[in-house]
């Protein structure tokens, strides 16, 4: 049986699923309901001197009838007094001693202010501290948030101040709005941080109203750039986390709490495979509610059982070694597309994609069924089934439609792959709407594996 209990940089919790510092962790009542639903930890909505928010605050990108592929917000840190937040943290910890409550903090860049904030948060019973060096809007204009996270020296300095006072683990939350996210991660390492969390939201403008010309979200006719999150940012988050978790400059990688588009157990498993010790969730909880954690726990446990993993550490980081620089990929590995004629519905998306977007190797020129094995007989097919003059068929009067071949789809509509030209790019299999219809099959080249690095060094050696 899978055991999800987690010890992340010294913070213990029943499972690795945390709510990220955001509206779902705004107050004690919410956090307690979240813990009842099953969340293992919660990073409190960032505490600091209360701010005034604007309305509206969110906007989203919908995609193909699906809501909120990406969410954007211009909300600031907690708008509630520090003492109220701390009082509620104390109450939550009293009632839920085994769950992790992490206090996210952001105060002005003064050593004493940070010392005091750290002591008060720990005094309230927080299990750990997360330094919000990532908020990309509003707070950064006041010298906080990403204004700190984008300057490694500032990030290191403030983290050092915090470490001077802290007794609990200190996590530094990284902003992705920087050229190389590893630079600030290294600063955190030098400052002896206990862990990292990444990524914070990405600077964004989600769209513009074509009637008013006002970008969203609209605040009395104007907008401001916000922070982008949700399923759309997951690939960006995974890449940045891979970069940080593979980086050994200034010491071994720190424990990482993964953030960015996590919405279900599969996402969580991927982040853990990329080396994360916990994952933090916000958008999915805002979209569907706290209950999503039920299947995250259940699904991850069942998957771990199937794979024979007992603890999260058993598979944590397993994919890191499988990410490499391009120059270490095998140039002599070759795959080609295969179309399963029995599954093909004749939509021809693969043909269009290959012709317009790839390498012009998927053709519409079949005329014959399998003669001897796979279909390869082809000639001019266009005459088939494409008479120019079409009439509404009347069963009594008109012959049934011409159907060629042994498959449900008439053969002239089923595309054919020219394997000699196929470069194995995957595009056709990506656009095909039918599961498993287009698969990529290996065609051994008979050549031993060779990478670009090996090939070029061989050239250098020969030249030498």
């Amino acid at each position: 049986m899978a055991d999800l209990t987690t010890n992340f940089a010294g913070i213990r919790c029943p499972n690795p699923f945390w709510l990220a510092s955001a509206p779902p962790t705004n107050c004690g009542e919410q956090v307690m309901r979240a813990f009842d639903a099953g969340w293992g930890g919660a990073v409190w909505k960032t505490i600091g001197d209360p701010i005034t928010n604007v309305s509206s605050r969110y906007s989203s990108v919908d995609w193909n009838a699906q809501r909120m592929m990406g969410l954007n917000n211009i909300e600031l840190i907690s708008d509630r007094p520090i003492e109220v937040n701390l009082r509620e943290i104390a109450e939550v910890k009293r009632l839920y001693p085994k769950h992790a409550v992490i206090a996210s903090l952001m105060v002005e860049s003064k050593r004493e202010t940070w010392h005091e904030m750290v002591k008060r948060a720990e005094g309230a019973g927080a299990d750990g501290l997360e330094l919000n060096f990532g908020c990309p809007h509003g707070m950064s204009e006041r010298g906080m948030g990403s204004a700190v996270g984008q300057v490694p020296e500032y990030a290191q300095m403030i983290t050092e101040w915090v470490k001077e006072a802290a007794r609990t683990p200190v996590l530094v939350k990284l902003t992705p709005n920087i050229t190389d996210i590893r630079i600030v991660a290294r600063a955190a390492k030098r400052a002896r941080a206990d862990g990292l969390s990444a990524i914070n939201t990405i600077n964004s403008i989600t769209g513009i109203d074509l009637d008013t010309f006002e970008p969203r979200p609209n605040v009395d006719g104007k907008s401001s750039h916000g922070g982008y999150c949700g399923p759309a940012v997951k690939p960006i988050a995974l890449n940045m986390i891979q970069q940080v978790n593979s980086d050994t400059v200034d010491g071994p990688p720190l424990p990482m709490s993964g953030i960015g588009g996590v919405g279900n157990w599969r996402d969580a498993a991927e982040f853990i495979l990329m080396g994360c010790g916990t994952v933090q969730v916000c958008t999915a909880a805002m979209h569907y509610g706290y209950r999503i954690v039920e299947d995250m726990i259940d699904g991850l446990s069942n998957w771990m059982d199937e794979k024979g993993f007992v603890t999260v550490d058993d598979f944590r980081g397993k994919s890191l070694a499988k990410v490499t620089e391009w120059k270490h990929l095998n140039l002599n590995y070759r795959i080609v597309a295969q179309i399963d004629e029995a599954l093909c519905i004749g939509c021809q998306l693969c043909h269009i994609a290959c012709w317009d977007g790839a390498h012009q190797c998927i053709h519409l020129d079949r005329v014959s069924g399998p003669v001897d094995g796979h279909v390869e007989v082809h000639a001019k097919p266009r005459e088939l089934g494409r008479e120019k003059i079409v009439v509404t068929p009347i069963p009594k009067l008109d012959p049934p439609k011409l159907h060629v071949g042994p498959y449900a789809t008439s053969l002239e509509r089923i595309p054919r792959v020219d394997e000699t030209e196929c470069v194995g790019c995957n595009l056709c299999s990506l656009v095909c709407p039918v599961d498993k219809c287009i698969t990529m099959a290996e065609r051994p080249t008979g050549l031993s594996p060779e990478t670009w690095a090996e090939r070029t060094s061989a050239v250098v050696e020969r030249a030498g």
Binding site: C344, I345, C347, I389, V390, T392, I394
Partner: protein, 401 residues
């Protein structure tokens, strides 16, 4: 789009709806089919676009192309959308369209787009042909048909309410450079049975036209419809909607032999229409309380032909009988068009150009195909317009040369 007789670019118009460009979507439809609105309501999409949808291969419901087209067209008309003429030179040549139904409207619209001067003649007061007078009201309202005709008029087509007779035809031949025969079919076949001339026997198209134009507001309680084609179904449903209590359809063959589309049949069953298969009316006689229909049961012989069974006579009581057993061709008028060959009661044409055996005459729609769908008439009309343009173009070249 290969399955649509008018070759509407279906992926294009759907993508345009998806992108919020509904105007562009409607124009994509109208470019291929100027009667896109009525087609979106009356087309048997199951055997056309939706029947060819690749989603069938995934065991999923086809994309609802008909309803999407309806949405695009309704939005277009609701916004007061109008077709604009393509940029082209006006041509002096004049073309007469006989009939103002779907075939002629499509032909006329296309000819105007090509610059020709067009005048359409119809014996009825309103344009639109069967779209206005003959399609069941629940599918297509007369007003919707008239809206489409008005759009064609907006392209510069002139309409004249005039029945063309032999003399008229001669006149048109003199005054116009080409004539398009889009005159549809003639009167409905009469039942060749005793008593068929009774005033309680109403032909199905007259019945539907009365219902659609508001001249018929009720019907007696017991109605018998003879025949099981799409018009019979429309008449039976119209009778139900007009308040008939019992509507029975008599058909001399079996369920699987009907020429009505499956969805039409299903619709009639839902409306409460009763079908009596293998039943043939033999005689009508007036009774005190209405009419008595003497019928016989028929069976099919080895060749599938219906054979009345001896001694199987029975009587059905009713108030009104509506025969819907097909329309006869307008042979009388057609025979006046000199050199226009008629085969099996239909105008013979070159399929690609619509040209008849008299090069000045072109034809399309029901008078050519014996009675098919609106979309087939539109496709015929469009092809004929291009045929006329090509022919007139050649004639012009020869003249100049």
């Amino acid at each position: 789009m290969g399955a649509c007789p008018t070759h509407i670019d279906v992926p294009r118009f759907i993508k345009k709806i998806a992108s919020g460009n509904v105007t562009g979507s409607a124009k994509t439809i109208l470019e291929a089919n100027v009667l896109g609105a009525s087609c979106s309501r009356v087309c048997p999409v199951e055997v056309l676009c939706e029947g060819s949808c690749v989603m069938h291969g995934k065991n999923e419901k086809p994309i609802e192309i008909g309803r999407l087209q309806r949405f695009a067209m309704e939005t277009f008309y609701a916004a007061g959308g109008k077709l604009t003429l393509r940029s082209r030179d006006e041509r002096a040549e004049r073309v007469a369209c006989i009939g103002a139904g779907p075939a002629s409207l499509a032909c006329a619209a296309e000819l105007r787009q090509l610059g020709f001067q067009v005048r359409a003649f119809d014996r009825r007061a309103l344009p639109g042909g069967l779209n206005t007078y003959g399609v069941a009201e629940y599918k297509l309202r007369a007003a919707d048909s008239l809206r489409e005709a008005a759009m064609v008029r907006g392209l510069g087509v002139e309409f004249e309410n005039r029945e063309i007779d032999a003399a008229g035809l001669e006149e048109l031949e003199r005054e116009f450079d080409a004539v398009f025969l889009g005159l549809g079919l003639g009167a409905m076949h009469r039942l060749a049975v005793e008593g068929a001339m009774s005033s309680s026997v109403i032909d199905a198209l007259d019945f539907i036209a009365g219902y659609k134009t508001g001249t018929r507001l009720k019907v007696a309680p017991r109605v018998v419809v003879v025949g099981a084609g799409n018009t019979a179904i429309d008449a039976a449903c119209a009778a139900k909607r007009l308040g008939a209590k019992d509507v029975t359809i008599l058909y001399r063959r079996r369920r699987e032999n009907i020429s009505a589309f499956q969805f039409e049949y299903d619709h009639a069953v839902r409306e409460g229409v009763v079908f009596r298969w293998e039943t043939l009316p033999k005689a009508f006689a007036a009774t005190e309380r209405g009419m008595a229909l003497t019928c016989v049961t028929v069976s099919q012989d080895a060749a599938g032909m219906p054979v009345p069974m001896a001694g199987s006579e029975f009587t059905i009581e009713c108030d009104v009988v509506i025969p819907a057993i097909g329309q006869s061709p307008l042979l009388e008028l057609l025979s006046q068009a000199k050199g226009v060959a008629i085969e099996h009661g239909r105008v013979a044409i070159d399929r690609a150009t619509g040209q008849t055996t008299n090069p000045k005459y072109f034809a399309g729609g029901d008078c050519v195909n014996g009675g098919r769908e609106v979309v087939d008439a539109v496709a015929d009309g469009k092809r004929a317009a291009l045929g006329i343009a090509a022919w007139l173009g050649k004639r012009m070249e020869a003249h100049v040369g």
